[in-house]
């Protein structure tokens, strides 16, 4: 007796339909999250909201100090980590021989890139805030974040550098270039798209970070007047507003500003990659 068999073509239709459904659900979730925040929050994002200081713990007023705080903490973190990270990547890939030591360093960087931000927060709290006496401050926060994104910048830069064909290097050296000339004019120039994407993504991660800044930059509502002042970032402000139930409209508005900033950054990263791809000549 022959069992009725399902044709492979039919199986394929079902399976592919299922996959597309999963894909659709995924994007629906993404759109839902963004829409949920923006719909509730954008109406409250006014010019005064963006430029004023908060009043009564954030129930009224605006978020200007938080915008500045985020800018300082995240911006400084990347400003410190980027040159150091790229230099380290250059040194590791161009100035050392491949061996056990470099493999260990690479593995260590990969591990640290995966270490939860809360652990960096722990370290930053005890080391920067207490031991070095910087207290809860913009400086503690940004140094902690710099350490947090450093492994990622090292790894993405290193991968971008290693992707440059070795024949390019041989050509440059064969024309009488020194090692540094080769690195600077050929390797870095070709690796630039990958390197800058890594840096922009690290900036995005710094802006979104909450746990680590909570423990190191503090949560002061006032405008920071120096790097040694405590300051509250947008992400932290949003968290505190929503957890304490202080002001839902303001919470949504803060989250909206945060999301728009991140969207803009992602767009920038995307545009950067495309522009470099064109400039380098396909």
């Amino acid at each position: 007796m022959k069992m009725p068999t399902i044709s492979p073509a039919f199986t394929q239709r079902i399976a592919v339909g299922l996959m597309w459904t999963l894909t659709g659900i995924t994007f629906a979730v993404l759109v839902f999250i963004l829409a949920f925040i923006l719909v509730h929050g954008l109406p409250h994002v006014t010019w005064t909201f963006l430029t004023q200081a908060p009043r009564s713990m954030g129930r009224e007023g605006g978020i200007f100090p938080m915008i500045l705080g985020t800018f300082l903490v995240a911006g400084l973190a990347v400003l410190v980590a980027a040159p150091i990270g790229v230099a380290t990547a250059v040194y590791l890939s161009e100035y050392t021989r491949e061996g056990r030591l470099t493999a260990v360093i690479r593995f260590g960087a990969d591990c640290l890139a995966g270490v939860p931000s809360i652990i960096f927060g722990l370290f930053g709290f005890v080391f920067f805030a207490i031991t070095l006496g910087l207290g809860l401050s913009v400086l503690s926060g940004s140094l902690t974040l710099a350490l947090m994104v450093l492994p990622t910048i090292i790894r993405t830069s290193e991968e971008a550098i290693r992707a440059v064909p070795s024949s390019y290097r041989e050509v440059s050296l064969g024309l009488g270039g020194t090692r540094w000339q080769t690195v600077f004019y050929v390797v870095l120039r070709s690796a630039l798209p990958g390197i800058s994407t890594g840096i922009v993504l690290s900036l995005g991660r710094s802006i979104s970070e909450t746990a680590a800044v909570m423990l190191t930059a503090g949560s002061a509502l006032r405008l920071p007047r120096s790097l040694f002042d405590s300051s509250r970032t947008l992400a932290l402000h949003f968290y505190l507003l929503s957890r304490e139930g202080i002001s839902m409209p303001n919470a949504y508005a803060t989250a909206s500003v945060l999301i728009i900033a991140i969207l803009a950054l992602n767009l920038l990263a995307y545009a950067l990659m495309r522009r470099f791809a064109i400039k380098v000549g396909r």
Binding site: R97, P165, S167, Y168, E170, V171, S172, L173, G174, L175, G176, G177, T178, Q181, Y185, V186, S190, V280, G281, R282
Partner: protein, 254 residues
Amino acid sequence: MQTATATIRAQGFTASFDGQPAVRGLDLELFPRERLAIIGPARSGKTTFLRSLNRLNDLLPGFTHSGKILRDGKDIYAAGVDVAELRRKVGMVYATPVPLPWSIYDNLAYGLRLAGIRERSRLDERMEAALGYAFLWNEVKDRLHEPANVLSGGQQQRLCIARVLMLEPEVLVLDEPCSGLDPISTAKIEDALVALKEKHSIVLVTNNTKQAARASDRTAFFLLGALIEVGPTAQLFTRPTQKQTNDYLMGQFG
């Protein structure tokens, strides 16, 4: 362009990688204004020898050498030698054309810019001469600022030759430059070499014995790291003195 006055002379030269010799006890001279072809089966040390001439082998881990390679009577491996200057004077073209991911202009100007020469007028002047010698001027003169990788394979290889010529080298070293190129491009490059030998010494490694027969004045036969025989091309091909040479040319092995 300056005339070639340097001779290159290998004296008892041995190149090893991690202790394994790739080229052993080499005694070979390169005269001014000649095209020397180097033939031989794979793993004969031909490429190793070439890369030793401009010290590109220094880049590879485990490289050691003994003996000398004299340029104008001075060992290029002596301490204190300016390797960058050596590489400018001994210009190398590789088997696969490697245009850098820039415009044709930037590719050609790169070598001079590395040496600190940046004035447009000097660059342009040399560029026209170099491209002329590489038989490429007419084909690219109107599109110098286009990306180099839109050129065909044969054009790219001639670009690489021109790129090296920009530095006015004394010796041209070419490692199987026509492998993978169509016959027309190959013919163009061989013609260019004829013109270039007026002012340069040329070493040409080739796996194609017929090309060696066509495009060289003297030929050297390498086998498993040793120089078996060297002599005027016509003579080597018709009346080789060593049995191994004869066997290789007859196609007994390869």
